[in-house]
């Protein structure tokens, strides 16, 4: 952003941008729900409200395969977090920093791909030796 004196003011978010960020947050929630819908048992209501409520987390309960590896859950959560950040930043940059939209958009896609890769990962089957 060198040589762009207005970059900081333009890109930095302030409290007055919160309602717009809230909208992006909702859109990111919807995008995540769309991707995960196949597995969703329960999902929090993240529809856009009239007021900004920071306590409304995105909580989703997934029913995964019996051969899903539980060790991946933390990582799935971290990737989902990055997905949300990238989606919101990409959307924010639509208005403030168009040159970097693509990079954040690609990041968001990559993160969701990462989430799906872990969710669909199957542990190898285990053989139970029969007793004749």
């Amino acid at each position: 952003m060198q040589g762009d004196d207005s970059a900081y003011d333009r890109i930095f978010t302030t409290d007055s941008d919160r309602s717009m960020l809230e909208r992006f947050w909702t859109e990111a929630c919807n995008a995540a729900t769309e991707q995960l819908k196949k597995f969703i048992v329960e999902v929090s209501d993240n529809s856009e409200g009239n007021t900004i409520d920071l306590s409304r987390d995105y909580v989703v309960k997934l029913e995964l395969s019996s051969s899903y590896d539980n060790n991946l859950t933390e990582s799935v959560q971290a990737s989902l977090f990055s997905f949300f950040v990238s989606v919101i930043v990409a959307k924010w940059y639509k208005f403030t920093n168009k040159e970097e939209i693509e990079s954040y958009g690609a990041d968001a896609l990559g993160m969701m791909n990462d989430v799906m890769g872990k969710i669909f990962y199957r542990k190898k089957p285990t053989r139970v030796v029969p007793t004749p």
Partner: protein, 188 residues
């Protein structure tokens, strides 16, 4: 000579594991880019819908096998149903074979029966989840059927039992009556 019965037990857990393992390895080797869902779909596991499909296929394969081997099976009963086979009960096949059946092929038969059922089940599974590989397994099952037929029809070479000629009986001692009789016959 009396026919003999050979009993072959196919453990359901071994059949299911073989199906799961083969489909797991297939999925793993087909992994590329972002085809996570396709790969996951190929890999049969214990999820209810997966297990039901696999058990149904195992049951169908076993039923076909019984038709193919009907001349060696003796089962009675006048009713049947289409209830999916149980996931725990093993498959037991009792084959009535001729007395000169070659028992050296017992292992071949059990291995080929196992392979036939597994390949048929994977063929069914891949027809749903991985079409390009399905035909290979179905072809392989046909080959397994040939192996079963060949093994079941092996016979032991007949063994010649050398007969022991009866001991020659010694001539009886001539009695006075028999001597007279002989003289009378010679000189009427």
């Amino acid at each position: 000579m009396a026919r003999q019965t050979i009993t072959i037990t196919l453990y359901k857990s071994e059949l299911v594991y073989d199906v799961q393992n083969k489909t797991y390895l297939t999925g793993r080797s087909r992994q590329k880019d972002n085809n996570h869902e396709d790969v996951a779909n190929m890999q049969a596991n214990d999820d209810e819908e997966n297990a039901n499909q696999i058990l149904r296929s195992l049951g169908n394969a076993f039923a076909t096998l019984k038709t193919k081997l009907s001349e060696y099976l003796e089962e009675d009963g006048t009713s049947a149903n289409d209830i999916q086979m149980d996931g725990t009960e093993n498959i037991v096949i009792a084959l009535k074979v001729p007395s000169n059946f070659n028992p050296a092929t017992n292992d071949t038969i059990s291995a080929a029966l196992h392979q036939y059922i597994v390949n048929t089940a994977i063929g069914d599974w891949f027809t749903i989840t991985n079409k390009p590989d399905a035909a290979d397994y179905i072809k392989q099952a046909v080959i397994n059927l040939e192996q079963i037929r060949e093994a079941v029809n092996k016979r032991v070479r007949p063994q010649r039992t050398t007969p022991t000629p009866p001991e020659p009986t010694p001539d009886p001692e001539p009695t006075p009556e028999s001597t007279e009789e002989a003289e009378t016959t010679e000189n009427p």
